[in-house]
């Protein structure tokens, strides 16, 4: 028996303006509204809408045998509500089929767990509330920003009541073990751990259109045969990827939609195969072992660690500086300030400052709205300085009161 568990990440950051030092103290406008609107509309039409339609058809044409899970950030939901509400409607239709599970994460797609557990909890609760309101769905499985995971996160999330959590099936954690089973986080009994099969996931997410790849072109039949081969060596294949893989990272003219349309049928041709959502996987399978993640692991880059966000001094300082403001921002009890502070925590802002791959230029460059990581840092720090002035004037007002 092999169960395939698809989870798609749906996220678009709120990109910042190229905020100049001369605007500090004079300009409250941090976000590049025009760019964000243009990108969300583009992605909605190239990826979200056509892919949602395909998934909906697949669910109905397989009589509900095809299943998927989504994690959608609060940030992307807000942008969709504003600029492409038809996408929200199409996700609602998907959830209504009962074959789609929604996962929880931090509302603002942040690294808050590393800096403030209290803030982390509030953001997850915000997200939970948003998903319940929009989709009438109460998530029970958690995935952290960029699959950042360690033992502590699993323990903390278990206490929050989640019964499942997602992580990267990193080689240096798994060793000889296979990602194709359900695991238990170190020392925990209730919460279960689902690990990404990164080879099979990346075959679709990164290598699908790569002509130099020996398996190119990738057909649904070929891919389904790889899945079936796992029979006997595992029972759960977790395919985790960005939703934008479909139509945005891999383009329609390269055949990604055709691949998706055929894949479920090819997989279901083998009678021992089926599809599950993360919650179903947890119910269906026994855990095989306990896994120890003493250090942070993520799904980014070959290092699979935090270096994409915390690899250099600029990133470290920027992150430290934003979280240092927690007390003063929260004590202002000003909802606008708190919300703005949270939007400045989105992990993408720090990803843009990464210099690690700057020498070769690659996937980081593709996602970076700035010409260089230095530009990203300058804009961010200028904004942060303006925000700090606002925060301190607010707390001064409160003192006077």
């Amino acid at each position: 028996m092999v169960s395939v568990c698809f989870y798609f990440q749906v996220h678009q950051p709120l990109r910042l303006r190229r905020y100049s030092v001369f605007e500090i103290g004079h300009n409250n406008n941090y976000f590049d509204e025009n760019k964000n609107e243009a990108i969300i509309r583009k992605v909605a039409h190239k990826s979200y809408l056509p892919t949602n339609k395909i998934i909906l058809d697949l669910i109905s044409n397989t009589d509900g045998k095809f299943k998927v899970a989504y994690s959608m950030t609060g940030i992307v939901l807000e942008q969709l509500e504003k600029y492409a509400p038809e996408v929200i409607d199409s996700f609602k239709k998907l959830v209504e089929t009962g074959c789609v599970e929604m996962l929880d994460e931090t509302y603002h797609h942040t690294l808050s767990f590393l800096y403030s557990k209290e803030e982390f909890k509030e953001q997850v609760e915000m997200h939970n509330k948003k998903i319940r309101q929009l989709f009438n769905f109460k998530p029970k499985v958690f995935r952290n920003t960029e699959l950042v995971y360690n033992n502590d996160i699993a323990g903390f999330v278990e206490k929050m009541g989640y019964n499942g959590i997602l992580a990267e099936g990193a080689d240096h954690i798994l060793g000889w073990r296979s990602p194709n089973f359900l695991y238990r986080p170190n020392g925990l009994n209730k919460i279960k751990l689902l690990l990404k099969n990164y080879r099979l996931s990346d075959d679709i997410a990164f290598r699908f259109s790569e002509k130099g790849w020996q398996e190119h072109p990738l057909t649904a039949t070929k891919y389904a045969s790889w899945i079936s081969k796992i029979n006997g060596n595992g029972n759960l294949v977790n395919l985790f990827m960005d939703y934008e893989t479909f139509g945005e990272h891999q383009w329609e003219d390269k055949g990604i939609f055709e691949f998706l349309k055929h894949l479920p049928f090819e997989i279901l041709k083998h009678e021992d195969n089926d599809f599950v959502t993360p919650s179903e996987a947890i119910k269906k399978y026994q855990t095989v072992a306990e896994l120890d993640f003493p250090h942070y692991v993520s799904w980014a880059d070959v290092e699979r660690d935090l270096s994409a966000w915390l690899g250099n001094k600029m990133q470290q300082e920027a992150l430290r500086d934003i979280y240092v403001l927690e007390q003063s921002v929260k004590s202002s009890r000003n909802p606008t300030m708190i919300e703005e502070w949270r939007k400045l925590q989105t992990s993408d802002h720090f990803y843009y400052m990464c210099t690690k791959w700057f020498n070769d230029g690659d996937v980081h460059k593709y996602f970076n709205p700035y010409d260089s990581p230095y530009e990203a840092f300058i804009a961010y720090m200028n904004i942060l300085n303006d925000f700090r002035i606002k925060a301190s004037s607010l707390s001064a007002v409160r003192l006077v009161e």
């Binding site: 030092v21 001369f22 700057f358 020498n359 230029g361 230095y374």
Partner: protein, 398 residues
Amino acid sequence: MKVLMFGWEFPPFSSGGLGTACYGLTKSLSKKGIEITFVLPYSAEISDADFLKIIPAGNIKIRKITSVLQPYMSSQDYKNIVRKKSSPKIYGSSLFDEVYRYTLAAEKIAEEEEFDIIHCHDWMTFGAGIRAKQKKHKPLVLHVHATEHDRTGGHKVNQYVYDMERHGMHNSDKIIAVSNMTKNKIVENYGINPEKISVVHNAVDFSQHCFDENFEIKKNDKVVLFLGRITLQKGPDYFVYSAKKVLEQEKNVKFVIAGSGDMEPFIIEKAAELGISDRVLFAGFLNQDDVERAYKMADIYVMPSVSEPFGITTLEALKNKTPAIVSKQSGVSEVIRHCLKVDFWDVDEISNKIIALLRYKPLHETLKENGYFEVKKFNWDVPAEKCMQVYNELISKG
């Protein structure tokens, strides 16, 4: 392999990047076994001993052509000479006469020397190159370090110089451009087939001239440096306007302008007019050791060039662990990632970046470390090998 090279300046008697580039390139070529005869104008005061100090023994031979003009004139010297003449026009013709004299003398040297390839550096030597080619029927390589369009910022292009460049380019067998930017200019402004042009980016010499020291100026202030000829091409005016904007935000900063040139009086007056004379220091033309010290003293190097075919000074700054803000209208910005890039006219953005570097320590440190790491790739062996490739292709073509 023997190369007959025609140049116009050579350190330590040079005023700019051309001399630096010729020196770095010939040194590395000679290390790789290429024999070079370098033909050079020189003033009578410079002795053979002066040359021997800088030329590594072995494969490089210097052939001098005595010239009444000092070959390494700064723009200010230029101006002084113009002033002594009755009219600028007469001066112009005398410079060109001088170039012609160099060409004739060079032709004679070509007759005497044995070589497989002719390699010329910038317009003044192109005539000599063509004559040498006609005499000995050897392939001619022109190395373009700057075009007349760069030197003049596109205004008042000197027709004589332009014609000389164009004639040389069309009569050469191969052109080496110091950047893609320069290659494009050669294609667009001189009508050359892009396939005839190879891009060979410059490099920097890593021999250590001086060491870290404590600078008095840095006790209370941070230092922002401009280093280059004070001419329209180098954008010193944008540097001063940026200084004004920065000083409105940050008090403890000094702006040092190192170099000389025809725009110097204008820049001095401009600083006074903006009320920042006490914060803008003019260091004049610096010798090699002092250039290194200037980079080491500086916290930030700014190169706001209007048109910079390459910009070796940026590599020199990075080599001395000084972060650089570099004009996008430069060749060096094509190849260096770990610097800040600006449009030369964007005074607001230049100031924004200077202030960011002054205020945000992690930015300064990251740029310093990564820039130093990156610049190490730019040693002269790389361009030397590319030049040898060009030589070999031409020779094998016959």
